[in-house]
């Protein structure tokens, strides 16, 4: 495959150039700027499709990668070698990721031309979106942690600006600040992890890290008394926690709802939160080597379950989706933790598709519901209801996605989530420490089905609860930039696109093993292969990988001992059946509560009042962070430092020094007046005046006289030579 750099670089550069150009022209030529943004992302999608098709269709089942390295800067001096490389690393995972990001982002761009059209900062939104998308694409293409970190921070900045997009709105500014600061905690750890890795490997490219893991460079390296692999893995996982909103840093993501809905779709589905999971997938070997998988599984499980419980009580349609995002990210992290690498990545992709669709649908709903008293769009579910007839396209798109996220068979969510849960179950059977995450995962799945259908029922079914609002809502007519993205995305929620069997577990096979492309293509990075990997000189073109992955190597044992391997399939079956049961149970409960009204949710609330209040306050996390850590811990510390600075340092050291100076100054002044001024200065002046009388004759100001003097002097010099 003779990829030149120009077949890959446009994927990042097109949106980036769109950003650069638009940043200048957006004020005057808003329409043109929007067009440029959309065209750029579509072009980027085109290039990404080429890569995707080459990797997925062209080079099927071949573990092929492209690694292009370019010297960024070189500070080597003598034998001291210090080089930083930037590069592009493309393997199957990158290709799939690129395709997903550009595709989803394209559709979100298209939808935004509908959603943001009446906004006064229509153009600026697209400027940010372009930068955001290009940063994510750059992150996906990066071959080393340092450039990942750069793009990571760039995305942090973009999310900051997009969350605070409506900066007039109260809370938007705070929310953007909160998102920025919270993710910053993770980022600091991430940077620490990069440095830790650098100290051992001497480089931060993925392949070098893999090689270092395989040849045991991490053995015997310690940081703060912890094995360095553990330390670095944990630090990098902290980055994931921050970016992907895992427990305990999940607090920023619900507040990110202050941004425009398409940007929420972009953040929650394709780009920012996906980046965290993507990173932990990339660094999976390191975390495996650092024995961190149990911790990761716990965090994933807790997040998956905890966020789902909070989502139960939310009334804001976007808040429900936000918590569901956290919950689903928890599943992905759980997948990473239980070693279900492939399924975790699959869930990342499927989740990106249906969550983007859900958010866009929510945006469509919100945009239609316009309260003509307050002139604001309505997001509260209690004021909705019965919207199915008003907006059929949105309804069907959202329904598909809801089925997908709830884990109903034949949809993509079922395929990916149940593989994660199945693997968790297997791990739980194999080792007791994984039981709790697995159970939390199953419980979360039940809740997911419930709250998603609760949202659907409250929004689209039943009688309209706010008659006035309902009557003022226009009937949805098919418009290309509004409905096309929704419908296209909803089509891709079908499981058949991701798996050869409709359920994903091989029960209802529509095609042979050949179409299990996801399972075959995405495999755990086998670090042993990188042991002989030569460090490439920069500017090289291609690496024809010498690792061929035959199909036999695709092993469904998930790395378990051979003895237990044959149980796996049974347990998967069990897991799948449990999942299906759970999903329908959740839907049934929602149905009974909100359609049949047979079970009154209010009674349940009054039964668990304390729990209900805890959920409404998001388990008091915000209160704890602000009231506990910041007010009790940081503020007193701050005050103490301020006191030391102002009370002690300023008063005694600085002011005291002033007194000393003043005393010295009095002496110096006397000396200056008498000695310097009178004797030295005036005396010099008098003597100069004496000379002046003599020299005035020479200094006539007539330049030709000077010139003649010069000439004769010169002649004298030469003559004497």
């Amino acid at each position: 495959m003779d990829y030149t750099i120009w077949a890959i670089a446009p994927i990042v550069l097109l949106p980036f150039f769109a950003f650069v150009i638009n940043a200048f022209i957006v004020k005057k030529f808003t329409k043109l700027a929007v067009t440029i943004s959309c065209a750029a992302i579509l072009g980027s999608f085109g290039f990404a499709s080429k890569v995707f098709s080459d990797f997925v269709f062209g080079k099927y089942a071949e573990d092929y990668h492209i690694h292009k390295v370019f010297n960024w800067f070189d500070l080597s001096y003598g034998s001291q070698i210090f080089k930083l490389d930037m590069g592009i690393y493309i393997d199957n995972m990158t290709a799939v990721m690129l395709f997903m990001v550009t595709g989803v982002a394209s559709l979100i761009h298209i939808f935004s031309t509908y959603y943001m059209a009446e906004d006064k900062r229509f153009g600026r939104f697209f400027v940010y979106m372009s930068l955001f998308t290009s940063a994510m694409l750059g992150l996906v293409l990066s071959d080393n942690l340092l450039s990942v970190f750069i793009f990571w921070e760039l995305m942090g900045f973009c999310s900051y600006s997009l969350i605070g997009f409506y900066y007039e709105k109260e809370g938007a500014g705070n929310a953007s600040m909160k998102a920025f600061m919270t993710t910053r905690i993770g980022d600091v750890f991430f940077l620490l992890g990069i440095l830790a890795i650098w100290s051992v490997v001497g480089n931060v490219t993925f392949v070098d890290i893999y090689r270092a893991i395989s040849d045991g460079s991490f053995n015997g390296a310690f940081a703060l008394g912890i094995p360095l692999a553990t330390f670095a893995g944990f630090s990098i996982f902290m980055g994931t926690i921050g970016k992907s909103a895992q427990f305990p840093l999940q607090v920023w993501l619900p507040d990110a709802m202050f941004g425009p809905t398409p940007c929420s779709a972009l953040i929650h589905a394709a780009t920012m939160v996906a980046a965290g999971v993507y990173l932990s997938l990339r660094m999976y070997p390191l975390m495996d080597a650092g024995n961190l998988t149990t911790l990761i599984a716990y965090i994933g499980g807790i997040t998956a379950f905890g966020a789902a419980t909070i989502a139960l009580v939310q009334t804001d349609i976007k808040a429900v989706l936000a918590y569901s995002t956290i919950s689903q990210l928890g599943y992905m992290v759980l997948g990473v933790g239980v070693g279900s690498y492939n399924a975790a990545f699959m869930h990342l992709i499927t989740h990106a598709v249906f969550k983007a669709c859900l958010f866009l649908s929510a945006g469509s709903v919100i945009h239609s519901l316009h309260d003509h008293h307050t002139h604001e769009h309505v997001q509260d579910m209690p004021r909705m209801g019965g919207l199915r007839k008003k907006m059929p396209y949105t309804f069907w798109a959202m329904m598909f996605c809801t089925l997908a996220i709830a884990g109903v068979p034949f949809f993509s969510g079922f395929v990916s989530k149940d593989r994660i849960l199945g693997d968790a179950l297997i791990m739980g059977i194999a080792s007791k420490s994984y039981i709790i995450p697995a159970l939390l995962g199953f419980a979360g799945a039940l809740l997911t089905a419930f709250y998603m259908f609760r949202m659907m029922f409250l929004t689209f079914f039943g009688e309209p609860r706010d008659k006035d609002l309902y009557d003022h809502t226009k009937k949805e007519t098919f418009s290309l930039n509004r409905n096309f993205p929704l419908l296209l995305l909803s089509v891709f929620t079908l499981g058949v696109f991701f798996s050869g069997s409709l359920t994903g577990q091989g029960f209802v096979k529509v095609a042979g093993e050949r179409y299990e492309w996801f399972k075959v293509l995405i495999t755990k990075p086998k670090v042993e292969k990188f042991a002989s990997y030569e460090r490439q000189p920069w500017g090289n073109t291609d690496i024809k990988s010498n690792f061929q992955l035959s199909k036999a190597e695709y092993d469904p044992t998930y790395g378990l001992p051979a003895k237990e391997a044959h149980h796996v399939h049974h347990w998967h079956l069990v897991g799948a059946l449990i999942s299906i049961f759970i999903a329908f149970t959740g839907i049934f409960i929602a149905y009974m509560m909100y359609i049949k009204k047979a079970w009154n949710p209010g009674r349940w609330v009054s039964m668990f009042t304390r729990w209900y209040r805890a959920l409404q306050n998001k388990y008091y996390f915000d209160d704890f962070y602000i009231g506990g850590i910041i007010k009790k811990g940081l503020l007193p510390l701050n005050n103490l430092l301020a006191y030391i600075d102002m009370g002690l340092y300023d008063r005694y050291a600085v002011d005291g020094w002033e007194k000393v100076n003043r005393a010295f100054f009095t002496v110096a002044k006397w000396f200056d007046n008498i000695v310097v001024d009178t004797v030295a200065v005036d005396g010099t002046g008098a003597s100069v005046r004496l000379f002046n009388v003599v020299l005035r004759m020479v200094q006539s100001g007539k330049i030709q006289l000077y010139f003649m003097i010069i000439v004769f002097t010169l002649v004298g010099f030469i003559w004497t030579l």
Binding site: Q704, M708, V711, F712, L714, V715, I718, W719
Partner: protein, 177 residues
């Protein structure tokens, strides 16, 4: 043979031009004679195998400096008043006998000294095999960006400074200054 002819032509143009600059009483003519002398110098460069320098001499002096001089003459006018502000008669603008005497004496003294130096050179007569004529453009270009890059950059800064400085200095005074 042709080299000799070219040399004689250029040399006579140079020397005649230079002497005419001295001897003429008209500033405008003097500028034109300077032009002739500079043209002759360009010809001498050509006989010395410095083709790039010859062309540079043409471009810079003919296209730039001489026209600039002519402009300056036009803008400042020819003759000035004969007295200064204290009422003392000034030396005429193009010099009189006394100034020429001073100049002549200086020139004579220097000429004697320099001729003595040249005599040394002529005695040694350092003419061996002259190298074949080759174009100096590539060599000069290479030298300028390798060995002499610092001087090159400094001279570019100098030119920029001269450009800005000349523009600032020659700008008409604002009203009220």
């Amino acid at each position: 043979m042709f080299d000799n002819i070219l040399f004689i032509l250029s040399a006579s143009l140079t020397v005649v031009g230079a002497f005419s600059v001295v001897l003429t009483k008209n500033l405008m003519h003097s500028c034109v004679y300077l032009l002739a002398a500079l043209f002759g110098t360009a010809g001498l460069y050509a006989t010395l195998g410095a083709d790039f320098l010859a062309a540079t001499q043409l471009v810079v002096y003919v296209g730039g400096v001489v026209i600039l001089m002519l402009f300056a003459v036009m803008l400042t006018g020819g003759d000035q008043d004969k007295e200064n502000k204290f009422g003392i008669t000034k030396v005429p603008s193009m010099g009189n006998f006394k100034t020429f005497l001073a100049g002549g004496v200086s020139a004579l003294v220097i000429a004697l000294v320099v001729l003595r130096l040249i005599a040394n050179v002529a005695k040694q007569n350092p003419q061996g095999e002259l190298p074949e004529f080759t174009s100096s453009v590539v060599a000069i270009g290479t030298k300028l960006v390798t060995d002499h890059v610092l001087a090159f950059e400094i001279s570019s800064v100098l030119l920029l400074g001269a450009l800005v400085g000349a523009a600032v200095i020659a700008r008409p005074a604002k009203r009220g200054e």
